[in-house]
Each structure stands twice: as C-alpha cells, then as structure tokens.
C-alpha cells in the first residue's frame, strides 16, 4: 500500500465532500450555524445524564437494554445500506478507477475520508463524552475505556459497511440478500421480542452493540472496569479487520454501483436536478394515469393541469399527503383521541400549511426553473404561467389538510370553520410569499445563494404576514366567541389574505418576466 496515494485520495475525497462549503460563504455560514446549533443540545443531554447518575436508584439494565437497542438499530441500518453493493460516485469511477490505484488504497482512503466527514455530524458525541467525564469526575481508566470503546465501535461500523458492501458487489443474488436480511433481523430481534413480551434481551446476547452499551453505562454508573466487554468488542473489530484486509485485495472496482454525488448543503441546481431525476423515475409510474392533452378548455386550465401532473410525477403531491398522514398519526397516537385532541389536530394541520408551500416551491425550483426558457423564448403569456403555478400550489397546500380537517370534524362533531380558515389563509399568503422570494433569489446576482436562505426568508415573511390571521383565530378560540363574530373574523381574514396574494402576485409577475437565464 502506497501511503502517498492514500493521502492524496483522502485529501481529494474530503475536498469533494466539503466542496459546497468552499463554493460560497453563505454555505460556510450555514455549516457553522449547524455545528454551533448542536452544542446546546449536547450540553443539555450531558446535564440529563449527570443528573440521572447523581440521583441514583435507576435500573442500569434498562439503560443498557435501551442503548443496545439503539446501537443495534444503527448497525441494522448500516447493513441495509449494503444491499446496493459498494457505491461510488461518477467522478471516482472515471478518475480513480481508471488510474493505477489499488483497491486497498482506495478503501483505506475512503474510510478515513468518511470518518473525517462524519465528524462534523457526530462531534456532539465527543462533546457529551468530555462533559460527562469531567462533571462525574470519572477516573482516567474509565475515561480511556469509554473513548476506546467508542472509537472501536465507530471503526467496526465502517469496516462492516465496507466489507459487506464488497461482498454484496460480488454476490448480487437473492441468497446474499436473504443472508443480510437475516442478519438485520437477528440484530433487531431483541427489540421485536420486547414488543412480543418474549424473554429475549440484548443484555443476554453477545452483540457488539451490547458490549458497547455495557461499557458506556457500566463505566458511567461506576460498576467497575468492563474489561471483558471491551475484549468482546475488540474481537468483533479484529475479526472484521481481518475480513476487510482479505477483501481489499480483490478487484471490486468493475462491480461497484454508481450513485449521484452528495455533498451536504449542496444547493447547486445540478445536484438537486440529479435527485429530482431519480424521484421522477420512481413516482412517474404512479402519475401516468393523468395525461396532458389538447382537451383543456382554457390556457389557464391547461397550464394548471400541467403543473398538477408535475407535482404528481415528481412526487411532490405524495410527499405532502405522506407528511399530513404522519402528522395526523403522531397527534392521534400521542394521546387518547378526544374532541379536544381532534380540535388540536385541526389547528396543528393549519400551522403545517405554512411549511407545505415551501416544499412545493422548492421542488418547482429544482425541476422546472431551468425549463422556463421554453415559455420565455416563445413569447408565451408568462403571467398566465405564474398564475397557474400559484393556483396549483394553493389548491394542493390547502386541499389536503382541508380534507383531513373535514373528516376529523365530522367524526368528532367539532366546528371546522376556524381550522379551515387557518389552512386557507396560510396557503393563500405563504404560497405567493414563497414564490416571490424564490423568484427574487433566482436573479443572476443571488442565484448562487443557498436555497435554505430563501426558505428561511420565506418562512419569516410568511409568519409575519400571517400574524393578523393567527391573532384573530387565537382571539376567537380564547374568548369562545359566537358564530356571528367568528364569521366576521373569517371574512376579514379571507379579505386580508386575498389582498396580500393580489399584491404579491403582481410583484411575482413583474419579476418573472425579467428573469435572466
């Protein structure tokens, strides 16, 4: 193995991964915001652990069991990722695999680069470790043991993923998939048995996740040195390292699976378009029942149908439906479903109508913005195109929650008026706000800015403009006002929302005809 090549490959991979941050200062700022935003959580979690330990009187076995279950779930997820075989990016296939780089050099560089890249996301783990160790005054031996166990487990996970992916690349048959599925099932079986009330527990099984959980919980609760558990974990690691060394001598390059390059916070159109292309291939099968033909009576109806087809075939519509189902389900299972709960759910859905336009318009930006050259160069009525787009966004973002609210209200006999009003107002205001901000961000000067910034600006502006709506609805609920006053409030809110939409629509149309591509 040539270390210089490994080092060069490592540098190349890390630079590729963090490419989006290097491309713009806005993306770098986003990364810093993300990194620092995790620190308070790490701090809070550390306080929670220290308090739990200091209070005492807890069942250590329960903690081990829970932690082992979480770690097993993580391991099972890693195993699930290996189904596709060893995955590489297009530029790696074209550039690295066509040069005299050996598989082991590539694998070692990849593991080290992945470890470096993932540190940005798992660093709070080490912050928690440092805080807990210092606040609990743990002896040096315990601190060292915990750190060693953590590092061994992380390397174990990486080696497991690499080795199993290579094996799956060589054996792309059903029996290999069944074997990995069995392994996943084995890892999750204690969790399943818990639900089935079976006596099988993680603490009784020699899983790597159990060893790590025993070391962490045991050392923190001062149960003495967990040397045997560390030995067990190390044995797993050594076994996998041996398998990895053997496999890394095989030429698996021609068997790798190409995947789109992913760099976090990469808002480039190319990157997003790649993801969208995949999404269209998946969802279009479900959307082929709708066709765009010559039958539409008016141009507006034709354009609205075209936009609706886009939302169906690229998966936006399914994503919205799925999100509302999940939100409803979470609210339903989180408490005994009573009329009060139902009322809460209806208002909760109304608040979500603020997020849906953001999602819909972000997808439009990715899948259709680049296609605007067609209407712009054809002398088409851009105003009509924008209007069709806006009407579709409002219909989808209000129609789905409104349907759920009506069903829930009918079942529980509650008045849906104010909840429906909240949904309608949120959609009518936030759809044009999001579209306006998105189009503003699409001018040549600000196109390189992250789409997340556009999202934040849209949410902020929508929330500000919806303040009168929220205030009137809250007032009507808090004071338990009669139907006449509520109807008056409803009329005011709808008029206000329509006015905002009219003003913003005019601004959007003015900006849209001046888009440069």
């Amino acid at each position: 193995m040539r270390l210089k090549i490994v080092l060069n490959l490592y540098k190349f991979k890390v630079k590729s991964f963090f490419g989006a941050f290097r491309a713009s200062k806005a993306n770098l700022a986003l990364l810093l915001v993300y990194v620092f935003s995790l620190l308070p959580s790490a701090f809070g979690f550390s306080i929670m652990i220290v308090n739990a330990v200091n209070q005492g009187g807890v069942n250590v076995e329960t903690y081990i069991e829970t932690l082992a279950a979480i770690l097993s779930l993580l391991t099972a997820f890693i195993l699930f990722l290996t189904f596709r075989g060893y995955t590489v990016f297009e530029h790696e296939q074209n550039l690295i695999f066509t040069s005299p780089v050996k598989p082991m050099e590539f694998l070692v560089a990849s593991i080290l680069a992945d470890l470096t890249s993932i540190l940005v996301f798992i660093y709070p783990l080490f912050a928690i470790y440092a805080l807990v160790v210092s606040w609990l005054n743990l002896p040096l031996s315990s601190a060292a043991l915990i750190l060693s166990a953590l590092l061994i487990f992380i390397f174990f996970i990486f080696l497991l993923k690499a080795s199993l992916s290579i094996i799956m690349s060589f054996h792309r048959n059903l029996s290999a998939k069944i074997a990995v599925s069995a392994l996943i099932l084995l890892l999750l079986f204690p969790s399943i048995s818990l639900a089935l009330n079976l006596p099988l527990k993680y603490v009784l099984l020699p899983y790597p996740s159990t060893f790590l959980a025993k070391i962490l919980v045991g050392e923190i609760y001062g149960a003495g040195l967990q040397t045997l558990d560390l030995l067990g974990l190390s044995l797993y690691f050594l076994l996998l390292a041996a398998i990895f060394i053997i496999l890394s001598k095989e030429n698996f390059f021609p068997l790798t699976t190409r995947v789109p390059f992913v760099s976090p916070f990469d808002a480039s159109m190319r990157m997003q378009a790649l993801k969208m292309e995949k999404s269209i291939k998946t969802f279009s099968r479900m959307g082929m029942f709708l066709t765009l033909n010559l039958e539409s009576k008016s141009l507006l109806a034709f354009l609205m149908k075209k936009e609706f087809i886009r939302m169906v075939r690229e998966g936006s519509l399914f994503a919205v439906i799925f999100m509302y189902i999940v939100v409803s389900f979470v609210v339903i299972v989180s408490g005994a479903f009573s009329p009060q709960e139902a009322l809460f759910l209806t208002f909760f859905l109304g608040v979500y109508s603020l997020i849906v336009p953001l999602m819909l318009i972000a997808n439009w930006r990715v899948s259709d913005f680049e296609n605007l050259w067609v209407p712009i160069t054809s002398g088409a009525n851009i105003r009509m195109i924008i209007r069709a787009l806006l009407y579709d966004f409002i219909l989808v973002s209000s129609g789905i929650p409104a349907a759920i609210i009506l069903v829930v209200s009918a079942i529980y006999g509650i008045n849906p008026l104010m909840a429906l009003l909240l949904v309608a107002s949120s959609s009518i205001v936030s759809c044009p706000v999001n579209l306006y901000v998105t189009i503003k961000f699409l001018t040549r000067k600000s196109r390189s800015l992250s789409s997340a910034l556009a999202g934040w600006a849209s949410m902020l502006l929508s929330a500000l403009l919806l303040t009168p709506t929220y205030s009137l609805i809250a007032l009507s609920q808090y004071l338990n006002l009669g139907e006449t006053i509520c109807s008056l409030f409803a009329a005011i809110i709808l008029l206000y929302s329509a006015l905002i939409m009219k003003i913003l629509s005019a601004k959007i149309e003015r900006n849209a005809v001046n888009i440069e591509m």
């Binding site: 292309e277 279009s284 899948s367 680049e370 040549r444 440069e516 591509m517």
Partner: protein, 269 residues
C-alpha cells in the same frame, strides 16, 4: 429589405466578464447564417440576447424590424429557439411536451396535432412518443427540443450548437430540413463549432471573437478579408483571423470589423 436580425453596438457583461463588446451583426432574410467563434467568444450570449433570455447592457437589437427593448414579447411569435444545453421538463412525455410548446404559443389544436405527428415521424421518435423525457438519450432530447421550436412553424429559427449529440442520420435530416425552410423564405441562425458543417451549410457566417464581430460574409468575403488563398477552407480562414485578432488590441479588432461591415453595406448598395 430590412434584415431579420440587426444588432448594433451591443454590450453585455455578467458574472464579472465582459461577454459582448459593441457587437454589430446583420442576418438577412431567407439565409442560413452561422455564428462561429472560439469558446467564450460570446456566441451563446448573443443568441440569448436575441431570444430574450438575457438583457443587454446597451445597444440596439432589432428582430424583423422591431426593437426588442421597446417591444420585448410580440416579436418572439416568429422565433423558434433551441439552447445549447437543452433542459426539458423531464416529467412530461414527448407528446405532452410538444402539446405544451404549441399551446403556450397559442397554436390551434389541429395544427399542433398535425405538426407534432410530422416531426415525430421526421425525427423517428414514434416509439418514444409516450415515453417520459427523463428516459430519453441526449440526442433524442435534442430532437424533441428542435421539434418543439418548430411546432409553430417559425419564420426565424435560432439554434445553439444544434448538431451536438445527434446521430449522423439525424444530422442529415436536420440539414435537409434547414435547406427546405430556407427555400420557403425562412431564416436559420445557428451557432456552431463544427466549421466543416458551417462551411457546407451556411450561406454566410460571422466570426465572433472576444465579444466582437471580427469578420462576416460568405466564404469568398472571408477569404478576401483574411487574405487567404482561393483554396482556403473556413477552418483555415477562421484560424488565421482569430490568430490575427488575438495579437491586436481589442479596439483595433472592433474597428476592423466595423470597416468590413461598412464595406459590405456599400457593396450591397
């Protein structure tokens, strides 16, 4: 007769780059006009300004005698445009996209159906008629984009590198189509790197370099201006002119282009 396209002293800069520096250009009616030049010369910028995808910083562009700064929409009714990197709505089928292209141009339904069927046959897209655009190869996407640009039977067809990605048979069909349209009095304006194709296909070409028109005319004119021999090819003329232009300050190159345009104008009178 007024030229179909006339650009006078057009300037454009973006992303910190001066893309056009006082470009002057005339495209006559009923000709195949080629715009050639090295990478970054300003060819795509020129085309994008004409079709309204970019706004010029200063200058005048007239299409069919209409100043596009004064009337920026109506003139597009006679234009069909195909960009270099074709982005199409991946979520539509070939047929749906052609219907969409026709509908937004307010072409009557019968005409859309008739022309759609004609171009689907011409470009051998029959089997892909109901296929999603996402599933098409690059060449097929290019054919679909060209069909969509022709769905309203435009008087002026503007194409940026139209032959890239298209197979030899498809290229042949396209050239035949261009020649037929020119016989009908329509105009084709193409930007291309393929000098041998430009030499055989175009009636006139303009060589654009550093955002300026350094020479334009038919091959004979260009040989004369470059002082090349009788047997010189367009490639040889192009290389000689761009090499000479590269050695001169930009202002001098522009002056030379202006003098040549004046010379051409006097000769035509």
């Amino acid at each position: 007769m007024t030229p179909i396209i006339e650009m006078v002293d057009v300037w454009k800069s973006y992303d910190g780059v001066q893309a056009l520096r006082g470009l002057n250009l005339q495209v006559q009616r009923g000709e195949i006009f080629g715009l050639i030049g090295p990478n970054g010369a300003g060819k795509t910028t020129t085309l994008k300004i004409i079709v309204g995808l970019l706004k010029m910083d200063r200058g005048v562009v007239r299409v069919n005698g209409v100043d596009i700064s004064v009337e920026p929409y109506e003139y597009k009714r006679i234009i069909g445009y195909v960009p270099e990197s074709v982005s199409l709505p991946d979520y539509l089928t070939v047929e749906e996209f052609l219907i969409y292209s026709g509908k937004i141009r307010e072409v009557p339904d019968e005409k859309i159906r008739e022309r759609m069927n004609y171009f689907i046959d011409l470009f051998e897209l029959r089997e892909k008629r109901g296929a999603l655009i996402v599933s098409l190869s690059r060449g097929m996407r290019q054919k679909v984009a060209i069909a969509s640009a022709l769905i309203h039977d435009p008087y002026l067809l503007i194409l940026d590198e139209p032959f890239i990605g298209i197979d030899p048979m498809g290229q042949h069909v396209l050239k035949e189509l261009f020649n037929e349209r020119v016989k009908d009095g329509k105009t084709i304006f193409i930007s291309t790197h393929m000098l041998d194709t430009a030499e055989r296909l175009c009636n006139r070409v303009a060589i654009i370099y550093r955002g300026q028109n350094i020479a334009s005319g038919d091959l004979g004119d260009l040989k004369q201006i470059s002082r090349s021999g009788e047997n010189a090819t367009l490639e040889e003329v192009f290389l000689k002119l761009t090499e000479e232009a590269g050695e001169q300050p930009i202002e001098e190159t522009a002056e030379r282009g202006r003098r040549f345009l004046g010379f051409l104008g006097r000769r035509r009178k």
